[in-house]
């Protein structure tokens, strides 16, 4: 549905936007180079034919074993034009910084904090870069593929529980 949008985007930013494709269910997606995401997003917001005024979801993916390892996915929607696109930014583990799009969409604030908390991807230019969901004493980024599922970290000392079924302490069974 937004193929014209993707085509115009590729024409406008031939260096930054590459490999447009149609995803599952008819979503129109494209890859964007990490260095150009800020200007691409600013254009998408400002241009009246694009008019992407809403970023409903910005998240990250960990492809452990692939290089580059991470990917930040921007889902964008225009309430004015009623079209959606998805932009994917590949982020290598050696350079875990993507310029923040919070100046473009204020709603991207918490999504970028979530990506920082869960994956460790930093967003320079973010107004309030701190953890969102986990507590501050938590060490590590839990949604990375190499973080153990049951990697609980104690915050408060525990009582003695004599129990047969549950694992010992916050470490659990891992």
């Amino acid at each position: 549905m937004a193929k014209a949008v993707i085509a115009a985007l590729v024409a406008r930013f031939p260096d930054d936007v590459y490999e447009p494709y149609e995803g599952v269910g008819g979503d129109d997606c494209a890859f964007v180079r990490k260095d150009g995401i800020a200007r691409v997003c600013a254009f998408l917001r400002a241009d009246p034919a694009m008019a992407f005024n809403l970023a409903p979801y910005i998240t990250a993916v960990d492809y452990l074993g692939a290089e580059p390892r991470f990917e930040v996915v921007y889902n964008l929607y225009s309430t004015v034009r009623n079209h959606r696109i998805r932009l994917r930014v590949k982020v290598p583990e050696s350079d875990l910084e993507v310029e923040s799009v919070t100046p473009v969409w204020a709603g991207a604030d918490w999504f970028e904090r979530y990506c920082l908390d869960m994956y460790g991807i930093r967003f320079p230019g973010h107004p309030d870069p701190r953890r969102l969901l986990m507590y501050d004493e938590f060490v590590g980024h839990p949604l990375r593929k190499d973080y153990p599922l049951r990697g609980r970290q104690p915050l408060v000392p525990e009582r003695e529980v004599k129990d047969l079924y549950r694992g010992p302490g916050p470490g659990g069974r891992d």
Partner: protein
Amino acid sequence: MALSLPNDYVVTKLDVLANWVRKNSLWPMPFATACCGIELMAVGASRHDIARFGAEAMRFSPRQCDLMIVAGRVVMKMVPVMQRIWLQMPEPKWCISMGACASSGGVFDAYATVQGIDRFIPVDIYIPGCPPRPEQVLDGLMLLQRKVQNQSHKLIDRPPGPVLPAGGER
């Protein structure tokens, strides 16, 4: 010099009276974090009525409650808050762990979820279920009432009796 009272009739009956009063006016502090909180609301509603047991006064201030019902999964980030609420409740106080997640972590054996709140606060009654039926919550409340009835008063120096004495409750 400790004061030791004999285990005589008057003191025993005062004990029974005080516990009877306490068990029939357990004011819950609904520590509802997740889906079990909805079932707790259903318990407080009209069909399964917790007011029959004197517990309809669900005050959200822990200073005014004597029963904390932890309903729902508790994450490690929430545990200091839960402990603070527990410590703010005045004695005598009891705790019901409602649902599988509060009792043992439930299906969430992951990096954030506490595997049972009894690792952090003392729990009296565990109610299984995901979520437990309101009737099951009321059954747990009634079990707690039996425990309260059989508790000894703290001023009287006597070892506590069994929770469920043989031959039914007094």
